[in-house]
Symmetry: C2
Subunit: 380 residues, 2 copies
């Protein structure tokens, strides 16, 4: 069923053919030489080594800029849509690696306008509640507070609106329709929003590298055209796949179906219950059958999650794969491995998050980069 999936900034449905997305979006797969080059700067997180981050645009040029002393900067974001789950944190984890490794600025946009404009029935009041929580989760990742600026569109709009006008002037309805599928019932706020998501691509004259899931690519295709016309670098991207939901390999994890997702706020018991009850297993129906025929790690969500981002040890991942396939490792045991890794990750995250409120002001207003950005008026 080559057509039975859909990927756009508002929806991911079906089993995603990631190679096809690369062809359709006109991005490039990250080739081995480029992975090697990335790894040469420092030990990369599992999600990068396991090719969960699999596609890019101008990532090589970004590294060339770095090597040549020109530097680059990072930009990513988080559209508030409910409690954050472990899938939502992935771009931030990678951004942290890039920031730590290359010592660069990072801009984090919180579009507290987008989902309100895109979704019927959603209120700004609800979004503002989510934003407060999201910012704590993001800070918990451990960014450099003097080189990271977290900003909300509605709060930072004075600084963004003039460049957004310059950008918006270059995006007409036909283009927005072709790229985003906007139509007659799309409201004029939702139509303007892409300009605001593009503004941070022009925050510095250096090349901008954006770690984000590939469903955001529509924005960057337009951003690349617009940026050059305004005298800036085309922003570079590194694209991830999606973390599959607990319940199986189709679509992406979603907070709106909380028992199919592991929330960053889940406690150890919630994790245990969700994984045991809902994690789709590649195991056989009986123990005897499993021992005899082996399981299928390729569709097994616990294996996929461990392999994609939770188990740092490459050798261990290989062993799990082999043992599960051979029937040596049982479904219950594999699920327990996932539960342990998740709870280890969440325990650490939640501890960091508990202290995050003390840092909110630095990331938003008083840190070195934040302070500078509140003086920002327009692109050059």
């Amino acid at each position: 069923m080559p057509d039975a999936f859909e990927v756009n900034p508002w929806e991911v449905k079906g089993i995603v053919d990631y190679d096809r997305l690369v062809r359709e979006f006109g991005t490039e797969k990250i080739e081995d030489f480029l992975y090697k080059k990335l790894f040469s700067y420092g030990k990369a997180p599992a999600s990068l080594r396991r090719k969960f981050w699999y596609s890019h645009r101008d990532l090589n040029m970004t590294l060339q800029d770095y090597d040549a002393g020109k530097g680059f900067y990072l930009y990513t974001g988080r559209a508030p849509s409910g409690p954050m789950h472990i899938g939502h944190i992935m771009p931030f984890t990678l951004a942290k690696w890039f920031q730590d490794t290359f010592d660069v600025n990072l801009y984090i946009e919180i579009p507290d306008d987008e989902k309100f404009l895109a979704k019927q029935g959603l209120t700004l009041e609800q979004i503002d509640e989510w934003v407060k929580n999201d910012i704590l989760d993001i800070i918990a990742v451990g960014f450099n507070p003097d080189k990271t600026f977290i900003f909300q569109d509605r709060e930072f709009i004075k600084q963004m609106y003039t460049p957004a006008c310059r950008i918006a002037k270059k995006i007409n309805f036909n283009l927005a329709k072709a790229v985003f599928g906007f139509g007659g019932s799309t409201n004029v706020g939702h139509m303007f929003y892409p300009a605001l998501q593009i503004v941070p691509c022009l925050f510095e004259k250096k090349r901008c590298l954006i770690p984000a899931a590939i469903d955001q690519d529509n924005y960057w295709r337009i951003a690349r055209d617009v940026a050059e016309g305004l005298g800036y670098h085309k922003p570079a991207q590194i694209h991830s796949k999606f973390i599959v939901p607990l319940t199986g390999m189709a679509g992406k994890m979603s907070s709106s179906e909380p028992h199919h997702a592991i929330l960053l706020s889940d406690d150890a018991n919630a994790v245990k219950e969700k994984v045991i009850k809902h994690a789709f297993s590649g195991g056989r129906t009986t123990l005897a059958e499993h021992r005899k025929l082996g399981g299928n790690p390729d569709v097994d969500v616990p294996y996929q999650w461990l392999a994609t981002f939770l188990e740092e040890d490459d050798a261990k991942v290989k062993k799990i794969y082999a043992d599960y396939k051979s029937g040596k490792l049982l479904t219950g045991e594999l699920k327990q491995m996932l539960i342990d890794k998740l709870n280890e990750f969440l325990d650490q995250h939640q501890k960091a998050r508990a202290k995050a409120h003390k840092l909110v002001d630095r990331f938003k207003y008083t840190g070195k980069l934040a302070k500078k950005m509140w003086e920002f008026e327009d692109i050059e």
Copy 2:
């Protein structure tokens, strides 16, 4: 030729059939009882007495609100498009009368984004130059600095963006297309702009009265639908006709054709030269013929301008009409009357304008109303 004219926020072409606009836009002509009621509050300016202000929505309800002690407020604006001419000042003149007569707040929007978004080739830098000058011309009208707030969209956007999102969510492309003629080549910034022009209709819980030329009515039609849905009064309007260009009765005066317009910055000689050279006359080709057959004041621009807004004395206007029609008053004499009135008006305006720079901060930031508005965050 009933179809040979066009009126929209960006263009006025042909000889305007104002009654037809009332029918098409669904507004109401100001009836005699309503004029009388208006005049009962205080001596109205010529432009109101001569029915240059001719159409409205809910003007009667606005006055009822005032009579009932509920009050109302005023909102108008000026989109920078070059040096202001005497046509541009008309809504401000009427706004001043309303403010003086009813002692109400007045909000003046300077959309320093709109024309940039709507016109190819126009730069923000050019607009920002015009804005500085426009604000001085507006202040010269003599508003109450503690009850008048002048704001530029790009500077005041932080306060406007959240309500604009609420408004924009209620305006989809189909509606914007139907009302403004937006299409595939309209850019997404231009599409969002109407939301920003509507925001000030929701600045207070009182009824908002907007004095503006009738070409702006598209915005208010949407504003009225949206405002009620958000728990506010439908904004009321009082609509003017257009000041015809010096050169004849078709279209409206435009700064882009400077010798067809009297600029607020024109000196006495420039006025004289423009009127003598370019003012379209209803006179006969020879003096003898004029004396014998009389002129046609109905197409004579000097008469029209005097009658529309420049000559306060009703009896004098009647006499000019009769004398010109009979041939007693000659074209040169009528032109001289216009020149004198224009120069009297401009002299007074320019003197006030020369002192206006001292008041800019009060109207924009430090006056009582301005100060309050910088604290504004959202509609209720």
